[in-house]
């Protein structure tokens, strides 16, 4: 579904590229974990495939169409959903309004469907008492689950997450990864997760390590 073609990236002030000639393929219905030491460029790679930045060399193809051609704003709106480590939500809204807002912006096929959004939140353990409360009054794990719910109510086929469990305890981590797995296997979306935690990576279908400016597939 998503392919990188000789992808290279370097920051202006750096003397060598973060990664060079990367050729990777991500398929729908599968989950991928990206491991690597701090500062190797995992977040940078994710921001490229999320359409937040443009590659210095090479190309990213979605169903054989380059992101440039699709248009980055359009790509972000229609084809990709992003979960960050923190600050994922609109702080001045309730979980329900966060979902409804995202559905409206991304023109989801469920746009305006409160029932559906409520149902998805309930499935993720965000009960009736929480969905109309301000998100700032939710715990970190609950907030992260709302962010995951958001990727589920939008139509985007690609879901990328940067250390989504970085701030969570073991139980919450387990729950969140299970949700990502269900997004991949039940919703048949493509999930790409950057993580430091080996056990999180182990739960995904495929694992890659970014090392020495190259991605290597782990057995």
């Amino acid at each position: 579904m998503l392919k990188t073609q000789d992808l290279s990236y370097w920051y202006q002030n750096a003397n060598q590229p973060l990664f060079k000639n990367v050729n990777l393929e991500f398929e729908e219905g599968e989950s991928y974990a990206i491991l690597g030491h701090s500062g190797t460029g995992k977040t940078t790679f994710l921001s490229l495939i999320a359409g937040l930045d443009t590659p210095k060399d090479g190309a990213i193809l979605l169903q054989d169409q380059s992101l440039k051609k699709i248009g980055l704003t359009n790509y972000r709106r229609k084809h990709v959903a992003i979960v960050f480590q923190a600050y994922n939500l609109f702080t001045y809204m309730s979980p329900l309004n966060n979902l409804l807002t995202a559905m409206a912006i991304t023109e989801s096929k469920h746009a305006g469907d409160r029932e559906y959004a409520t149902q998805v939140l309930r499935d993720l353990g965000i009960g009736e008492d929480l969905i109309t409360r301000n998100v700032q009054h939710l715990s970190g794990g609950q907030q992260q689950r709302v962010a995951i719910a958001r990727t589920m109510v939008c139509d985007a086929r690609l879901v990328v997450a940067d250390e989504p469990t970085g701030n969570l305890d073991e139980d919450n981590t387990q729950a969140v990864i299970t949700q990502f797995q269900s997004i991949a296997h039940d919703q048949k979306k493509c999930v790409v997760i950057v993580t430091h935690e080996l056990d999180v990576a182990a739960m995904c279908d495929h694992q890659y390590r970014l090392e020495n400016r190259q991605f290597t597939k782990l057995a």
Binding site: T73, R77, T91, T101, A102, T106
Partner: protein, 471 residues
Amino acid sequence: MNFCKRAWLNVWAKKGRSILLILVSAAILMFVLAGLLIRSAAVKATNQAKAEVGATVTLSANRQAAFKQMRKSSQSKSSKRSKLTLNPVKLSDATKIAKLKHVGSYNVTSTTSANAKSYDTVSTSTGMGGGGTSGGPGKMGGKTTTSTGDTQIDGVTATSLTSDFSDKQSKIVKGRGITSSDRNTNHVVIEKELASQNDLSVGDTMTIKKTTGNKGTVKVKVVGIYKASSSSASTAGPMSTDPSNTVYASYTLANSLKGSKYANTADSVTFNVTAPSQVSQVKKAGNKVISSSKYALSTDDSSYQTVKASMSSFEGFANKIVWLVAIAGTIILALIVILMIRERRFEIGVLLSLGEARWKIVAQFFTEMIMVLVVALAIAGVGGKFVGNQLGSQLMSQAATTTQTTSSMAGQGQGGGQAAMTTQRARQRLSWPLRSVRSIWPNSVGLVLPLPSCRLCWLQEASCAWNRVKS
């Protein structure tokens, strides 16, 4: 329209911050609004004053030249005492000047005196009796010695054109005033005191005795009765007759009482200049028409000048306020907005990652600001009334003092009574800025805040200059 909803959710969720922002913007807007209102009122008032405050050009005998002439002759013929020779103004000159640009109506003045025959004059209890001096210029030097009578005859074109009547110092209480149609008639308008003392009313006739020539009698008919205000009586010195003995008539009657030589002449002719700013132009043009060795044109636009001066200082102050507050306010608001946006960079990031268009993000922030500003503007509208009130009354009293001092200074050079009237007139003009503030301001503001305010000028009663003028 999704961004509108987001804007509303944000403003509503952060109530405390929104209220703070509303208050800050309201304070800024309030001062700007008050300044703008005062300024626009000042501009209005200045225009109004320009239109309403009269300026005049007066044609009279050239006294300076006459004095010079007198001194010269007294030096050459040292033995004899020479006399001041003043030339009465020719009406033919006046009609020429009247045709000049910017000259409106004009009033011919010819003053003389006569003696009472069929009636008794009013005598002031403290006065010196009937025989004071009266009669203005217009005594021909030479053979005819003119004795003065006890009744002053003020010959005019129309009473309404005289300063006493136009300034409401004198008022017609019965019948009518002298008009230009009274030319070549013996119609007169007498003072109320004189009328009641002699039991005279409109339609009655009275007889006066000439003080010149054959000293014959003339029958005149009363067409109107006027009331002179006490202030004009008090301006009269102890040596003059009681002001109630002043009789208004057409200048033709005054001229015929003076003698046949005076036909078609006048002591002075006062021209109203329609555009006060053009006074000096009119004077220049007028000087080309007349013989400057015999006649002189003097101007009086002092009230216009004082009004103009005080208004421009008023306007300047309001201008400064507007600029100062607007600049300071913009800086403060800009800083607040910058801080707000810095604080919200994560939110912007999320919006961008969702694929929201940039302009919609900007539009959301603008909508939030507009929501705040609308409420702030409403508050400023109410609060501006207070600020405008305070500022306005302070400026007013300042301006009124300036006017008073300037006009009394001008008055010293020109003659007291005139200056007193000028001051009063100028003070009435000055209440205008605040009156127009009231007209600009929606009436509903008054309903929201019922304050005891002057009916005429929008100010609170205690600080109202207009009220002070009236009392």
